[in-house]
Symmetry: C2
């Protein structure tokens, strides 16, 4: 195979998502034990010898860590060894050097633009996942004797509630557990606690596929709504001003695992309980621009590349349109299957990110997952606590992935529905 | 430039460090705006057109995040887009999938081999840096009324001590602060507290360049020695059995920032204080093999590549020999400069990882750092709290880097000593 390494002519830096599918023949098989030179081209239409690299990529429906934009991965690959002439990898950079400062500052700036974050909100890049915030939120936002309210619409909201019992007096004012977490409550019927310091929700339950489409107004005088947005962060526009705090693990929509982003109304910072570990104290991180100690630099860099990509796509309104299209396609396929496929979630609150579904013939579910994997659609097995299937279709899942899944579902049904 | 993409014939997977210098012409400049195809070769001696990639790499003396092995970076680059035929990046993998499980299990296995970790010790891959462990250690290893002892040999040991005051009764039984943290105490003279639950040390002070060469025996009945080894982890063999717990941020010797490794004697696990955040509870992580929530997967993968590299180098005894050689070269240059360069640290406890030094003519220090950077030796400025210079020469700093620095120091002295 001959080689035309014309990537140099088409800087990956400026690739738009729309061209990403054209560069999938990047060398991904360097470790393949063959003595023949590898045929490679990364420019638009000059692919001389189709390799298996493009088709080697699977559609990854994992709930997180999850699929990332192909052009972001290729850009990261091109820069991994030597970031933009710095002579080193981003992984090797001092977090206090000018190179990394430019990276984290651009990441924050792009995120602020995407979510239109008001200036009175502080953006923090943290570690430890949303699970760390389950403790950090009460430790920072209330005292040990304070009452706070939790709406529990799934497993993650329940975990957040339970962790808070260590640090304050949380009330679970609504739980969907008895209905297997398939609903969101009517906000008017909520029995909020007068004087509650905040109201906590999980904006999208990754396991159960239940998503808030609008938000309740907290009863407390400060109107502090706290939302775990891990699995629908940056999937659509959000009015940040309605929240006291938004937090999200990055590994669903905006980056690799190991980075947690918190957006906190600045007046809520600086009141941490005395037992708060220094690494869980928002004031420490706010005062040090997320550089109190060494942050997860490479993860932040990756988030920055994703933010840049989302900006280039036209922002979150455009991103939401794509997500609505993908979600509709999949839910329509389920609902149109005459009961062969079923989604247990109430229609009005179905998640556009995580789509759980079952087969009426449950004995076929294992086969469904196995056959799909053979067709390069992987990680479709449902969470171990729920069973069935789950297709996570975050921002970076291409429409083609959902189309392929829907086609496969129809084919699978045709082959099994007569039995 | 023509292209010979013969990497496929020389799998990076099996590259030994000794060949790393031969593969520095890997495509690092994909984003370079030139219309000419890029000349690339990754095989041993067939480099047809020397590119600037090899010489573009700087010697990075940063204290952490720090330089990583060149062959590890190149391997990571080759695998970034598609890990070993999985059809996805390591960053996209479910942490519960078989691919990532193989990665984290191999990382632990190689680390156990390197440090000869006894079976009664648990290895945890955590987040939040050593700073999080400053809280987690007391929260897990003692009760709120317990006394613990801290030997404070530098800024990091002092931070650990201060954080512990939130969770127990720590005694600072020795502090080197009045002597500007240039010493390690004589162990016989230590006034340990009877009944102390543990004795805490910082095995290597990154900022001050002070390193324990042997370890004190704790007085408490359980003989629990706790060591922050962030900046000399895996730089030499360590008898793990002497410790109750060893913890280390990865970003000095073994990986990128965002991963913290804890090696804990298993009988010490399971006694966390009730206020311990779930993410700081060692039992939670031990019971779930570091997969209670989503771990920092890509960072763990990188650590695994570094561990593999250290094993291939012949293990930590061999690594220590190289570090001794590098350290001796640099300290000899300082000591042989007739006072032009000075290292404030007592000779017997000088760190082999972080070498702080000053100029007798302090007014030349800024020029020294600036000129060195021009010669592609970067991040030599001392910590802002200490001043002067600091050369961090971790495992991955090549001997050539120290040789170049020493040559530069001699040249700089020759040009300025007569003044």
């Amino acid at each position: 195979m001959s080689v035309s390494m014309s990537t140099a002519a088409a800087p990956l830096t400026h690739l738009k998502p729309s061209t990403a599918s054209q560069i999938t023949a990047f060398p991904t098989s360097l470790s393949r034990p063959t003595s023949r030179p590898l045929s490679i081209t990364c420019s638009s239409t000059t692919l001389q010898t189709p390799t298996s690299a493009a088709t080697d990529r699977v559609f990854n429906f994992a709930a997180g860590p999850a699929t990332l934009p192909e052009n972001v991965l290729l850009k990261a690959q091109s820069e991994l060894y030597n970031w933009r002439g710095s002579g080193m990898s981003v992984m090797e950079m001092s977090h206090r050097g000018k190179e990394f400062l430019s990276i984290i500052q651009k990441a924050e700036s792009d995120l602020r633009a995407l979510l239109n974050i008001p200036s009175e909100y502080t953006v923090l890049f943290l570690q430890g996942g949303a699970t760390t915030q389950f403790a950090a939120a009460p430790l920072n936002l209330c005292g040990p004797a304070d009452v706070v309210d939790y709406i529990v619409t799934g497993s993650w909201g329940d975990k957040a509630f339970k962790e808070a019992t260590k640090y304050c007096n949380p009330n679970s004012i609504w739980s969907g557990k008895s209905e297997k977490y398939t609903k969101i409550p009517n906000f008017d019927s909520l029995n909020q606690t007068p004087g509650a310091k905040y109201l906590h929700i999980c904006a999208n339950e990754t396991i159960h596929g239940v998503e808030f489409k609008s938000y309740p107004t907290p009863a407390g005088e400060n109107e502090v709504l706290v939302a775990d947005m891990s699995s629908n962060f940056c999937s659509k526009p959000v009015d940040v001003a309605k929240f006291g705090m938004i937090y999200a693990g990055a590994q669903k929509n905006v980056g690799p695992s190991g980075v947690t982003i918190a957006i906190v109304r600045s007046d809520l910072i600086g009141h941490a309980q005395p037992i708060t570990p220094v690494m869980l104290d928002y004031k420490i991180h706010a005062d040090n621009s997320s550089l109190y100690n060494t942050p997860p630099c490479y993860g932040i860099y990756m988030c920055g590349l994703v933010f840049e990509d989302l900006v280039e796509q036209g922002g979150l309104a455009e991103v939401e349109k794509k997500n609505v299209k993908k979600g509709s396609l999949l839910y329509d396929a389920i609902d149109g299957s005459k009961g062969f496929f079923r989604c247990p979630v109430e229609r009005s609150v179905r998640s556009l990110m995580n789509v759980p579904f079952t087969l009426a013939k449950t004995e076929l579910e294992a086969e469904f997952v196995k056959e799909a994997a053979k067709e390069k659609m992987v990680q479709l097995k449902g969470h171990r606590s729920v069973g069935g299937m789950r297709a996570s279709i975050y921002n970076a899942m291409p429409l083609a992935g959902v189309e392929k899944l829907v086609a496969f579902m129809k084919d699978f049904q045709a082959r099994h529905d007569h039995a």
